[in-house]
Symmetry: C2
């Protein structure tokens, strides 16, 4: 099968590509050809199959048509302007996150007018489609009231994905990813950055700042679990989805205190001693409006599997990013 990954240069995209190449198949069908697209050309990994890497802007005219010209059987669409940038640059957020996705859906629909074509499209949505007021545990039928332009754009794309699937133009699965921890790389300024930072930095012997209370509860998945969600969405029987093509993924609910306790169990008190508590009222207020936990019963019943424990999430980081070793 031909596979197209849009957003292949991002953290999840790179791990997905590595997993696809390692598995060599999706749902029992061999991966014969891989196209990697992103705003910067992805670095194609060494592989036994042909890989094409493209630097493209999905929101530009004709780009989506070009991407689907050779009729990929499976498309992962991970590309997006992140929440903070979509909030600062209103027009860019709508152009990339909404129009880009709509261009892709339209290109697929129009390709189908030249002969049968109905690829599997796995779209990464976000728990940002949910906004206050929220229940402690968000059920699978809770409405979408995003409180960011990013969340609005994701919620709109979910609706489009379902409608294009219902009309038979595409075979879509939208998955709402939890907050990814431990996110590898440098600390960033995202309001959610500390959830990873208080684990990642101490695991490398570096200090980290915790701007919120230990009691703050949130919804997590490891990068490995996120890739697992994507691959399961690519291979699952979508007849089981009916016309509701979007799913909250089964993350792991944990408080910051539980994160820290897991860190201590896995890496010892010398790791947790590196966490400095410096409350930041701005971040406290932002995070207060975020989802705390989901039922995700529908996704679980459809075979999606998240992380078993926060200890596992930390061990995954140590295995996949630190070569199995903790410390400076």
């Amino acid at each position: 099968m031909k596979v197209l990954v849009i957003g292949a240069a991002g953290m999840v995209g790179r791990k997905l590509v590595a997993a696809l190449l390692a598995a060599e198949q999706v749902g029992g069908k061999p991966v014969a050809q891989l196209t990697l697209a992103d705003v910067v050309a992805p670095v194609p990994p060494a592989a036994a199959i042909p890989i094409t890497a493209l630097a493209v802007d999905l929101s530009a005219p004709q780009v989506a048509e070009q991407l689907v010209a050779d009729r990929p059987d499976l498309i992962f669409h991970l590309a997006a302007i992140v929440s903070g940038e979509a909030e600062v640059d209103f027009e860019k957020g709508y152009r990339i996150n909404l129009d880009g996705t709509r261009h892709l859906l339209e290109a697929i629909r129009l390709a189908g007018q030249g002969g049968p074509y109905r690829p599997r499209l796995v779209f990464t949505s976000s728990i940002a489609v949910f906004g206050e007021p929220l229940p402690e545990i968000i059920g699978d039928t809770h409405h979408h009231t995003p409180l960011t332009s990013y969340g609005t754009q994701k919620a709109i794309c979910e609706l489009l994905l379902s409608d294009y699937s219902r009309r038979g133009f595409v075979d879509g699965v939208g998955i709402r990813l939890p907050t990814i921890v431990v996110r590898p790389g440098k600390p960033n300024k995202a309001a959610s950055g500390f959830f990873s930072g208080i684990l990642r930095e101490p695991l490398s012997g570096q200090p980290a700042v915790l701007p919120v209370a230990d009691s703050v509860r949130h919804w997590f998945a490891s990068p490995r679990a996120a890739v697992g969600f994507l691959l399961h969405a690519a291979a699952m029987d979508t007849a089981l989805l009916g016309d509701q093509r979007n799913l909250s993924m089964p993350g792991l609910a944990a408080t910051v205190g539980e994160e820290i306790a897991a860190l201590e169990r896995v890496a010892g008190p010398q790791a947790t001693a590196l966490i400095q508590r410096v409350p930041d009222e701005t971040i406290v207020n932002i995070v207060a409006g975020w989802p705390k936990a989901f039922e995700a019963n529908r996704a679980k019943s459809l075979g999606f599997r998240g992380d078993a424990s926060f200890d596992d999430i930390i061990r995954i980081h140590i295995e996949d990013e630190l070569g199995g070793r903790v410390g400076s």
Copy 2:
């Protein structure tokens, strides 16, 4: 205040315009100027204030900019391709129902870059944003899983309305109208047509066909109640909405049997004798997936008032459409 009505030639639009002219004010502010727009030029009613009637396609370039050029203080956006047409003509539905609304929102946002401008925008959404599986009574936090392209387009516009309002570009209120009964005029081929037909035709001494069982339950509002919702949305304190700008209106839940019983109470057994029961499997199946009733607690707490009884709904039709008289 300057008022713009987009979709002014439709049934609800015409009644809204008549109500605006009769009231002469909205929320205590005099209506000084009225612009009526629709795909066919609305017939301007006789009035003491200046009325402009325009034939425009909101989805065409520059049209939205022209409509907001004189900075109306209050905009009603009622224009849409109906459900059946949006399902048959996919591109037209998205062009008119989604792009048209987005053009309007963008024109308002861009007008605000030339000086403070944040008009009240009342948008008519629909209970078609909801789709199976549905609870017997749909709560205010139930998710949107539209099963038509029309419902998808309305759900997307709701999300845009909330985001543009949250960002301060517009002061939006989206109202999900119940099915309007008794819809005046000729019978049409809409699947919902019989809900009005079994009242309207007998009230004029004509036979009517009932294609579903008497036990079918649905959600209704009279045209007068619908206009009341629009006027309340135009005058209400939107600070009470917070960032959630869309509301299910308080309709009246009734079974077909209750409709018929009300008809008999108001117009006698000679009216109900004109209803022929001719089951239509296609319509039975379509209607089976429709909402049956809503809580609408949020709208009620915000002062929206629906019809008190089905007897009232029938009396409103007799008063407003039949000159107070029943019969052929």
